[in-house]
Amino acid sequence: MIRFALIAALVAAPAVAQDFSEGSEAREWGLFAEQKARFTATVSDPLCELAGDCAADCGGGTRQVVLIREADDVMLFPMKNAQTSFNGAVADLAPFCGQTVEVDGLVLDDPEIGAVNVYLVQRIRPDGGEWQRANTWTDNWAEKNPGREGPGPWFRRDPRVLERIEEEGYLGLGEEVDKAFIADWF
């Protein structure tokens, strides 16, 4: 009976989030729900993990990637890199598809809006290698967009973004709505 009670208690116990902050050197971003988190994980393809739809090299940078944490098999979604310029983590993580890496960064935990196991990766250490910053996205963008050099950040010069703004406007509601708004905004 006691054994049954113990098992029942175990089943009923709420999942206690593990603390992965030990040894982290992640920079704080001042986000509402951030916690430092450094852990070992396998870089994987979420379509492969969830639906068995597996691409070579996790899609080679075109698909999103996930981190399967070694300590508890939890799948985290690394949606941001270390840069503060509106870019994601795939360029930094996809080269390690299928490999075990150590990562350091910030995990967000705000279940009220659905943010659970969401991750910002700041640095990556391949198995047996050195730490490297997760900041390669803008260099990759520059390589893919020759002739787009100039002042200002990439997102002011990106041809696809500029094309969308040209077509839909800054607000996405067309030229007339933009014109009226801009006259009031500045």
Partner: protein
């Protein structure tokens, strides 16, 4: 003992069953997940719709994952959009940033997040959430001053 054995079986069960897909049809806005989850630009109501359209373009082109935000607040992380698996900066998601769409797809759930493979966009309602009327633009520098000249 008769009760304990099923409980032990439950504890030992593999997690694979949690990833079985479920076909759904859902209407939702194509959102920029980082700004929505992180609060870096303000509250969630300020980082959707027209106020956030330009930033949503930046983030989508920048490879930040997009999601569908359903009217009940459920967030579905998009792993394919209309069959296109190029969700790390691909064109399909970029073209419909901040649009509200009606989608047919398969949903998976794992470790607290919902994931969706959108097989078909049944309807594109364009941008219907005129948040700029309440919030201006987020971030405030989304529109360059040169646009006023």
């Amino acid at each position: 003992m008769r009760l304990a054995l099923p409980l032990l079986t439950l504890l030992a069960a593999p997690a694979l069953a949690a990833t079985d897909g479920e076909r759904i049809q859902v209407t939702g806005e194509v959102i920029d997940t980082w700004c929505y989850f992180s609060g870096v630009m303000g509250g969630p109501e300020a980082v959707v719709g027209s106020a956030h359209h330009t930033c949503a373009l930046w983030c989508s082109a920048g490879g930040i994952p997009v999601a569908l935000l359903a009217p009940d607040g459920t967030v579905y992380m998009v792993l394919k959009m209309a069959g296109d698996d190029q969700t790390a900066g691909g064109d399909t998601s970029l073209r419909i940033a901040a649009h509200t769409i009606e989608a047919d797809g398969i949903v998976y759930r794992r470790d607290g997040l919902n994931y969706i493979i959108v097989e078909e966009i049944l309807a594109d309602q364009d941008i219907i959430n005129a948040t700029h009327e309440d919030f201006g633009v987020t971030p405030g520098f989304a529109i360059p001053e040169s646009a006023a000249q």
